[in-house]
């Protein structure tokens, strides 16, 4: 339960972090809240020889109103998002989902940047960010780029981030009138989601205008329930149950101690219905 020995560097700024990443190559890892990285280092499933701590960069912890969207700094902690009044008002899906992560101690340390960069399909925020069609701002030695959430997650614990890149900001739309919901199914308090479903639903003249659904833990990456989304587009609110019966299409959930793959598919369908219904009521 003790990590292998490593060197520890403090990044003074994002540019400094990028420099340190370049200097130290593949052996280096960024340290944010450490609540995904340190547990796997203690189990020696990860053995970086250099940790570059982002925790001293103050100007990466913020929520800003940027007019048409909200900008969230990568080092903003789950507890900060849970309490942030702007997020609560304009993008309640994020503050609510952040409040369901782990337990209070975990939320006092874990960050949105770490949650996204870790690329764990069982994490709650990534599927909410998919449903929101969020954008991620990434800075590296080649400059800055903005990547859509839908293009970010590539495979199990694998993202589009290059070894010398830092995720600096997450941009989410203001929800204005759109309804939202996150349904997390777990067996015990504090646990990770067996399955989670995020929904963002826009109404138009009594019908569903469009619906976007993000799935947690239904494959090697967070996923969109595209078949159910198409079925919901323009649909009457009374047909939600039928439309969400395809929510597990195109997914490949695993079987493990918490649930079989078939049960996860069942959960994805049921939770999608509940999420869309709740979103419509908001």
């Amino acid at each position: 339960m003790i990590p292998i020995a490593f060197d520890y560097e403090v990044a003074e700024s994002v540019d400094h972090a990028i420099e340190l990443l370049k200097e130290n190559g593949d052996e280096a890892k960024l340290l944010a809240g450490g609540h995904s990285l340190l547990p796997i280092m203690k189990l020696r499933l990860a053995t970086p020889t250099v940790l570059i701590d982002l925790g001293r960069i103050d100007d990466l912890n913020y929520v800003r109103d940027e007019g048409d969207h909200l900008a969230i700094g990568a080092m903003t902690r789950h507890c900060d998002m849970e309490r942030d009044a702007t997020l609560q008002e304009q993008c309640g899906l994020i503050s609510y989902t952040a409040s369901l992560v782990g337990d209070p101690q975990v939320r006092h340390r874990g960050t949105i940047g770490g949650s996204v960069s870790h690329g764990d399909a069982a994490s709650d925020l990534p599927s909410a960010l998919l449903a929101l069609e969020a954008n991620f701002v990434i800075k590296g030695s080649g400059g800055e780029r903005t990547v859509a959430a839908g293009d970010f997650f590539e495979d199990y614990l694998q993202t589009t981030l290059a070894p010398d890149e830092v995720l600096t900001e997450i941009q989410v739309p203001k929800l204005n009138g759109a309804g939202w919901s996150y349904k997390k199914f777990n067996r015990r308090a504090q646990d990770w989601a067996v399955v989670g479903v995020a929904a963002v639903v826009e109404r138009s003249n009594g019908s569903i205008g469009s619906a976007r659904i993000g799935l947690t833990n239904m494959g090697s990456t967070p996923l969109r329930a595209t078949a159910a989304e198409s079925a919901l587009s323009g649909a009457d609110p009374s047909s939600v149950a039928e439309a969400t019966s395809s929510a597990d299409e195109g997914t490949s959930p695993s079987s493990d101690i918490a649930a079989s793959s078939e049960y996860r598919r069942h959960l994805a369908r049921v939770l999608s219905r509940r999420a869309v219904e709740e979103a419509l009521s908001r």
């Binding site: 003790i2 060197d7 520890y8 450490g34 609540h35 203690k42 101690q105 340390r109 504090q190």
Partner: protein, 158 residues
């Protein structure tokens, strides 16, 4: 080795530590604070809970170097003027402990909880302590202890 400086229970401490040293081990082994308990060592049980800058954290999942420059409070440092902290008093009065193994972590998590949400409902207290496991009490008396502190704070007789 890296030189770190932190305030622990109101006193400044300087130390040379390996970067991989966990805050938990720094507090227990270097500073001799046995009241910080090691339970699961996997971020699950909460027995190792301390405060960094007044917020609860699991010290088995924080590096000592991450706490450099910060203020750390353990259960040893919460007594006021030689008297138990109201949360300690309440755990005593409400029988919020049996074997006591989870208690330091429970008390630190409970203080942080009420600081953030002084009027927490029973449900919020239960959810706020979801990161702390107790194998003895069944939690009932722990929740009552936290409510006792709320009552005392609001000036109502218990």
């Amino acid at each position: 080795m890296r030189r770190i400086q932190m305030t622990v229970d109101g006193r400044a401490h300087v130390a040379e530590v390996e970067p991989r040293l966990l805050l938990l081990h720094h507090l227990r082994e270097n500073l001799g604070i046995g009241g910080v308990h090691t339970g699961c060592n996997t971020t699950s049980c909460g027995a190792c809970t301390v405060h960094i800058d007044g917020e609860s954290v699991k010290s088995c999942t924080v590096l000592a170097v991450q706490a450099d420059g910060h203020e750390v409070t353990t259960v040893r440092g919460i007594m006021e003027n030689g008297l138990w902290h109201p949360m300690q008093q309440a755990f005593h009065e409400a029988h919020g402990l049996q074997c006591g193994y989870c208690t330091p972590g429970m008390i630190m998590a409970s203080i942080s909880l009420l600081k953030e949400n002084p009027d927490a409902t029973e449900q919020e207290i239960r959810e706020g302590l979801e990161g702390n496991l107790c194998r003895c009490t069944g939690y009932e008396n722990i929740v009552k202890a936290v409510q006792l502190v709320q009552q005392h704070t609001n000036g109502q007789p218990a």
